[in-house]
């Protein structure tokens, strides 16, 4: 089985506990206005890689996973679009005793299999980093071009399985930082006992050059990076090391 890989980062420390090897998969159906990686959008791009080869590569980093309580995070793009590949990869990692984390927006493609495939994936996933783009459905649509419902539905599946989950929320000044929006995110944590932490991520402008390179108009040119002091106040509640 092969997957489409956008890139590999051997030393990740922001996407799950400990030191993480982060696999960025190619392809995303959403179009978030602040996306840092528009080069991951194209469903057909990236480099094809055999699951065996990737697994072999990941095993070489085991000493760091063990030393730090880390593991492998699959991110993207949107990894759920290559769920079969991720399931296969995570299955092997689990078997080898390596912690697996899935960084996703919850865009689970329609399947008429009674949830079997989703079940298969989640059974080999130790932690989900679920990106909530916006709690309000209209604002969500405007921000991402997609419905918020799929993320919330995915979160419910995670609650049913009691799968440890961190919520991740990008704080974009003027777009996602209103007090009601922040409060809704906090409420999601309160109503989902499987959610062990919230990662508030500051909007930054370091990915804009990729939009320019690709010739896609960037609609947030006027939006400043998130204020550091505001972020500090939000982070008081963080529980990232909850594994």
């Amino acid at each position: 089985m092969t997957g489409r890989i956008h890139s590999l980062e051997s030393f990740g420390t922001a996407d799950g506990p400990g030191i993480r090897f982060v696999v960025f998969l190619q392809g995303c159906r959403w179009r978030c206005r602040y996306c840092h990686n528009p080069d991951t959008w194209a469903l057909q791009g990236g480099k094809e890689m055999e699951v065996d080869a990737l697994f072999g590569t990941l095993l070489r980093y085991r000493s760091w996973f063990d030393a730090s309580g880390g593991g492998v995070t699959v991110s993207g793009g949107e990894p759920l679009l290559q769920a079969a590949f991720v399931t296969e990869l995570f299955g092997r990692l689990k078997h080898a005793g390596i912690h697996t984390a899935l960084d996703t927006n919850g865009d689970w493609p329609e399947e008429s299999d009674g949830g079997r495939k989703l079940e298969a994936l989640l059974s080999v996933t130790d932690l989900v980093l679920l990106d909530i783009k916006h709690p309000d459905s209209e604002a969500h649509l405007a921000l991402t071009g997609a419905e918020a419902a799929s993320t919330l539905h995915f979160l419910d599946c995670l609650r049913q399985r009691s799968l440890p989950t961190w919520l991740r929320y990008v704080v974009v000044p003027g777009l996602t930082d209103s007090p009601p929006a922040i409060a809704s995110i906090r409420r999601l944590k309160d109503t989902h006992p499987n959610v062990t932490g919230i990662q508030w991520l500051p909007y930054h402008r370091m990915g804009i050059f990729k939009w320019h390179e690709a010739g896609i108009p960037y609609t947030l040119e006027e939006v400043p990076a998130a204020d550091a002091a505001f972020m500090d106040r939000l982070r008081d509640n963080s529980a990232e090391d909850s594994r």
Binding site: F11, W64, A67, S68, G70, S238
Partner: protein
């Protein structure tokens, strides 16, 4: 045994009847499992003293790098009258000359360089001295040049072997300065006399005659050291009676040694664990408080930070920032499974809080995955705040070197007092590759350097054909290289012997000859380019290959890709096995390092374009680093590539410099501290050997380049040592800024 109170309450052992400092340490070691909360603040006295030094250091920097030179006196053990910074504030005393930062003239390595260096800073060496060292007393430099062959001179001039210690002291030798503290000179002299009278009373072959003469000189040097003690009012004949004396005895022995030789790198060894035993005893008996203990260490470090040698300005292009490599090895594990982190290990690192970051002494942590967690976290804290510590893998060195070795210079391990090394400079590997393509002609000048052969004639480079040529020329190079080093060290032993340092070694010392290579990643990538894509030669009018066109992508060293990493490991194995074919002077054991310090910039300048796409004159990567910007998979992939280089072939060390943005280590301080230790644990479990870690961002460095006055103490780690950023040349600063910085995504 007449030791008075000096050994009172120490656990006894073999160390009492023979010279065996290790035995003393193992019997008396107190590992500290706790954290740093016991540490004391800086004393007023130390703070005042350091403030005075800071003024002098500023003046030194403002005056072009040299404050003053004593041109009238030839440097030697106790050559100068007592000197002080401010006697009323000093708890550890002794200076190289009669005033702080006043440099001494040491012509034994070479008078020419001494004259040039003094002249460059507006001073002239008196005619009597130049006359003495040209007509009456031969220098090491003259000796070497009287024996160099034409081949050696050509190789030296082209820079294919370079950094040769043929004009100043060779350095790299670590005296066991602790011996003076533990035993006093009287006992050491008696032991050396016994060596002369018993061990060396044998057939007078060349080696025996030479050694007998050397040991007699060593005895004289120990007497000279006693005189240096007297100059400052101490009786070094006797063992140190307490911690203050132990610090003082060690420092004066080191001072005498660097008065005698101006070697490029002179480590102090592994003194912290040793001193801890004295400090603990005095603390226990109430003779000393923690504050006083810290003060002694702070003041020792101040003294080490003021040691200087007189160098020419162009030395700085090679090794920036006036380095001494006064390396101190901290921590590590004992053979019996205990760790050797003591309170004094913490005290040494704590000097960075009191005195600010500094390049010297070159603080080196011998890291083991089994070191206590509290210490790992403390290292992380200090590293993240100062970027001044280097880390070396005790778990890979201990099997070869035991538990009482020290790091010389940057990465060279030696058993203290038992091993010495002949420093072997470096071979410029990319240049060797270009010579192989051009039939032995220098790609920059067209001059014939290596034996003439048919130049590579095809338009495209064929990896296997090129490798064959490369390996053939490597045979020639290795033999020439060993013979050049043999010549240098023969003359150095003869004309500029480090009597005192060698007096603090066993007489039947084991010798290494430590060769080096620069530009490994350039050559590895070059062969990879030839194997995995098309490399077209571009020739000048005279048929010399001066550039390359590369069509397509190829695997690059530093991405954990076996297709290029394994051939790189093979290059290293091949090089050392060629070296071993030529016997080294005094039966020394051949070793190899992959280390450049800052010289990767100058090597690059002297090397034409290479088949990996590196342009003419561009710097090499430092040490064993991947080339700038070619590591695409993050820091751990680079570490994995490095870990594939075989330590058994590179026993003199494999240096890596890693630059991390603070956020790359984690989103919060507590995660950063844990991940820092895990980063090292992981690398060293993979078998990696050495890593310098800088935790800073590029913007800080750019700001420091534009506004040096705002960052007077900004210190960074370069291949193998720390350096004040302000003291790098602008080309070196540019090179550091262009390195890969690992950032959080």
């Amino acid at each position: 045994m007449e030791t008075g109170m000096a050994w009172e309450s120490f656990a006894g052992g073999r160390w009492q009847s023979e010279t065996d400092v290790r035995d003393f340490i193992v019997k008396n070691l107190t590992p500290h499992d706790g954290d740093e909360t016991f540490l004391a603040p800086v004393t007023d006295r130390t703070a005042q003293l350091w403030a005075q030094c800071a003024v002098l250091l500023d003046r030194e920097l403002a005056g072009g790098g040299v404050l003053d030179i004593d041109t009238e006196t030839i440097s030697g053990i106790n050559s100068h009258p007592a000197g002080y910074i401010d006697k009323s504030l000093e708890t550890v005393v002794g200076l190289q000359t009669d005033a702080p930062l006043k440099r001494a003239v040491n012509p034994f390595g070479g008078i020419r360089l001494a004259v040039q260096a003094a002249h460059a800073y507006g001073k002239e060496i008196p005619a009597e001295i130049t006359d003495l060292f040209t007509r009456l007393r031969r220098t090491h430099n003259d000796g070497v040049f009287s024996a160099y062959t034409q081949d050696m001179k050509r190789a030296r001039k082209s820079g294919v072997i370079t950094g040769l210690p043929d004009a100043y002291g060779r350095g790299r030798i670590i005296g066991d300065y602790r011996r003076v503290a533990l035993y006093g000179t009287e006992k050491l002299i008696a032991a050396k006399q016994t060596d002369l009278d018993v061990m060396l009373d044998r057939d007078m072959d060349d080696e025996t005659i030479r050694l007998r003469e050397e040991v007699s000189d060593q005895i004289q040097a120990l007497h000279d050291l006693e005189e240096l003690g007297k100059t400052y009012g101490f009786n070094l004949k006797k063992p140190a009676a307490d911690a203050a004396e132990a610090v003082q005895w060690i420092y004066l022995s080191f001072l005498g040694s660097v008065q005698e030789t101006n070697g490029a790198a002179n480590s102090i060894g592994r003194i912290s664990t040793f001193l801890d035993i004295y400090l603990e005893r005095d603390l226990k008996s109430g003779r000393l408080s923690e504050t006083e203990a810290q003060e002694l260490i702070d003041q020792l470090i101040i003294k080490l930070r003021l040691i200087r040698h007189l160098r020419t300005p162009d030395y700085n292009d090679l090794f920036a920032g006036d380095p001494l490599w006064i390396t101190e090895s901290l921590g590590g594990m004992a053979q019996d499974g205990r760790h050797m982190v003591t309170r004094t290990t913490y005290r040494f690192l704590h000097t960075l809080d009191h005195l600010g970051p500094s390049a010297e002494p070159n603080l080196t942590v011998l890291w083991s995955t089994r070191l206590p967690e509290a210490f790992k976290r403390y290292c992380a804290k200090v590293s993240m705040a100062t970027s001044t510590i280097q880390y070396e893998n005790d778990d890979v060195m201990r099997p070869d070197y035991g538990d009482d070795y020290g790091i010389s210079c940057c990465v060279s391990a030696m058993r203290i007092g038992k091993d010495m090394q002949f420093f072997g400079a470096r071979c410029n590997l990319p240049k060797l590759l270009l010579l192989a393509l051009n039939g032995g002609r220098d790609e920059l000048t067209g001059e014939q350097i290596a034996p003439e052969s048919e130049p590579y004639a095809d338009e495209y480079l064929d990896a296997e054909k090129v490798l064959k040529r490369f390996l053939a020329l490597q045979k020639w190079m290795a033999r020439l290289y060993v013979n050049t080093m043999n010549t240098i060290h023969h003359m150095h032993d003869k004309y500029a012997c480090e009597r005192l340092m060698m007096a603090l070694h066993d007489t039947d010392v084991h010798r290494f000859m430590a060769f080096g290579i620069a530009g490994l990643s350039v050559v590895a990538d070059s062969f990879s380019a030839m194997r995995h894509t098309y490399v077209r030669c571009v020739r000048d009018g005279g048929g010399l290959i001066t550039d390359f066109e590369i069509l397509g992508e190829f695997p690059k060293f530093g991405n954990d890709d076996d297709r290029v990493d394994l051939p790189a490991a093979e290059l290293v194995r091949g090089f050392i096995s060629e070296l071993r074919k030529s016997p080294a002077y005094r039966s020394a054991e051949h070793t190899l390092s992959i280390l450049t310090i800052t010289s990767n910039v100058v090597y690059g300048k002297k090397t034409g374009a290479t088949p990996d796409g590196r342009k003419k004159g561009e710097p090499f990567a430092p040490g064993a680093n991947p080339m700038h910007g070619r590591d695409m998979m993050g820091a751990l992939a680079t570490l994995n590539s490095l870990a594939k280089l075989p330590f058994a072939s590179c026993r003199d060390g494999i240096s890596l410099t890693l630059s991390l943005m603070p956020n790359a280590l984690g989103t919060e301080e507590r995660f950063r501290l844990r991940n820092f230790g895990a980063l090292l644990d992981g690398y060293f479990l993979q078998g990696g050997h050495h890593v310098n870690i800088n935790v800073l961002d590029r913007a800080t460095l750019q700001d420091a380049m534009a506004h040096p006055e705002k960052h007077p103490q900004l210190t960074i780690r370069v291949s193998g040592y720390a350096v004040l950023f302000n003291r790098l040349t602008s080309a070196q600063q540019q090179e550091v800024i262009s390195r890969t910085f690992h950032a959080a995504m």
